[in-house]
């Protein structure tokens, strides 16, 4: 239909058709369709059966997949990650693999086509990965789903970034129910700003990461998922990791903290998990006066205030799990490193009981 000065006005149906076509065009580039003809014979296909960091098996499987993907890219091959038989998919595993795939494409001679993937056959997992924008660059269109914040990535705090992110979260996760400046909004702001600051302060302050930072900035990836009144957030960075960052504070501080946390079960092991545990304790020990980031301590406070709160801190080879219910810590060591830090936690929101947002 033509109106006024010849401006073409498209109807709703046409607009939807256009959006669908655009979305399909994007997805064609990154997703491998069932047709085997699309996969070049020289492509390296990596089968992944568990996409999680919560189990030792899954943690090892993701690490192996990432290792082989990097080797394949280095050898100039295209890589296809086949998750069709995946039996366990969690946000932390997906976030890590997503980041590695995006970075892999940066290094691949084939560019965006260098790393592609096949989604799981399981509808629940497929839908989950689909709505979080798994494996897709930020500018690719993803069908929005209430309760899921697609993966966001950033490199440096720019003015207005947090407001934009919070507005987006409010729209996607809460159907704009959050009051700007209200308690939930404020909790979210604090959690996100400290998590981002933590990355900027600790993660990339190392000579080894200079080249990475020059190329890609102090990059982080973030995703969110709302389930009823619980908001799950996860942030991943490819920095030096908490254990190395903590050791850089000096032997004296590490030794003092070792004595302070020696009574904690498992903390005396000396592995990455005990260093993460020490770093968490250090933030609240009073030894730190002008610490750079209050990040971990701050995040933990919100988890503590949540009766169903859980905080998972994965960093390099270690993992520390904190349960608010009984205020216990669990320390776990893995054979493989995640080459960075992934923090996943959940906040309890004070939303009205009969919220309009979907409870997924």
């Amino acid at each position: 239909m033509l109106v006024g000065g010849g401006v073409k006005k498209i109807d709703r149906g046409h607009a939807m058709w256009l959006t669908r076509k655009r979305r399909e065009a994007y997805r064609k580039r990154y997703l491998v369709r069932r047709s085997a003809r699309r996969v070049p014979s020289t492509a390296l296909t990596l089968k992944l059966k568990e996409l999680t960091l919560f189990t030792s098996k899954g943690h090892a499987a993701v690490a192996k997949c990432v290792r082989r993907m990097r080797r394949g890219i280095k050898d100039g091959r295209r890589v296809v990650i086949d998750m069709t038989e995946c039996t366990n998919v969690t946000a932390c595993g997906a976030l890590r693999l997503h980041a590695e795939m995006i970075l892999g494409r940066e290094d691949s001679a084939a560019g965006v086509l260098g790393v592609r993937f096949k989604l799981p056959k399981n509808n629940l997992y497929r839908h989950f990965l689909d709505t979080m924008g798994f494996g897709l660059p930020e500018d690719a269109e993803v069908k929005p789903k209430a309760g899921v914040l697609r993966i966001q990535s950033g490199a440096k705090k720019v003015p207005g970034q947090l407001a934009q992110l919070l507005n987006q979260m409010n729209e996607r996760l809460f159907k704009s129910e959050l009051e700007r400046g209200g308690e939930d909004w404020d909790s979210l702001y604090k959690a996100l700003s400290e998590a981002m600051l933590n990355v900027s302060v600790h993660a990339y302050k190392d000579d080894e990461r200079v080249e990475f930072v020059q190329r890609l900035g102090e990059r982080w990836w973030l995703m969110g998922n709302r389930i009823k009144k619980q908001l799950y957030l996860a942030i991943y960075d490819k920095g030096i990791g908490i254990p190395r960052s903590f050791q850089k504070k000096g032997l004296e501080i590490v030794e003092t903290m070792k004595k302070l946390v020696a009574w904690l079960p498992g903390a005396e092991g000396g592995g990455d998990s005990s260093l993460i545990r020490m770093a968490m304790e250090y933030g609240r020990s009073g030894l730190k006066q002008a610490g750079n980031g209050l990040g971990l301590d701050d995040i933990k406070k919100y988890v503590e205030n949540n009766p169903d709160g859980k905080l998972h801190v994965f960093s390099n080879h270690g993992r520390v799990v904190f349960h608010s219910k009984d205020s216990t810590y669990k320390l776990i060591e893995y054979a493989d490193s995640i080459h960075g830090t992934l923090i996943q936690w959940n906040l309890k929101l004070e939303l009205p009981a009969e919220g309009k947002a979907d409870e997924t």
Partner: protein
């Protein structure tokens, strides 16, 4: 952003209107709207005039703990004012009382003068930018 004279005339610092709607981070490394800049550009000049000042925190997108610790806790750590002096000179207001409590928590927790050695460097950094 309004000029410093605005703060001087009515003894109120409205963070969102006069400084930034999105205060974030500790130092310049973390962005322009950091706690160190707020301390040097707004808090210290206003406190030096000797009158009681009101910090109005309403209207901002939010307040990160690092910003609040650096801006307010930093006044004590760097040895500018002790806790009692700040109790006499400052009134803090925000619609969420927990943010007001947080400001006083960081002031109370800080040890007076513990980072005095860093004060000179902070002042130099600030002077270099102006």
């Amino acid at each position: 952003m309004t000029s410093m004279s605005t703060a001087a005339t009515n003894n109120t610092i409205h963070i969102a209107r006069q400084f930034s709607e999105e205060p974030y981070g500790r130092t310049q490394d973390h962005g322009d709207d950091n706690g160190e800049r707020f301390r040097h550009q707004w808090l210290l000049p206003a406190l030096s005039r000797g009158q009681r000042i009101l910090i109005e925190m309403d209207g901002a997108v939010g307040y990160g703990s690092s910003f609040l610790e650096e801006a307010f806790g930093g006044l004590v750590r760097l040895g500018y004012y002790n806790k009692d002096q700040l109790r006499e000179k400052l009134t803090v207001h925000h619609k969420l009382s927990r943010n007001v409590d947080l400001v006083w928590h960081y002031i109370d927790r800080a040890t007076f003068g513990v980072d005095k050695g860093k004060r000179e460097a902070a002042e130099k950094r600030w002077a270099a930018r102006h």
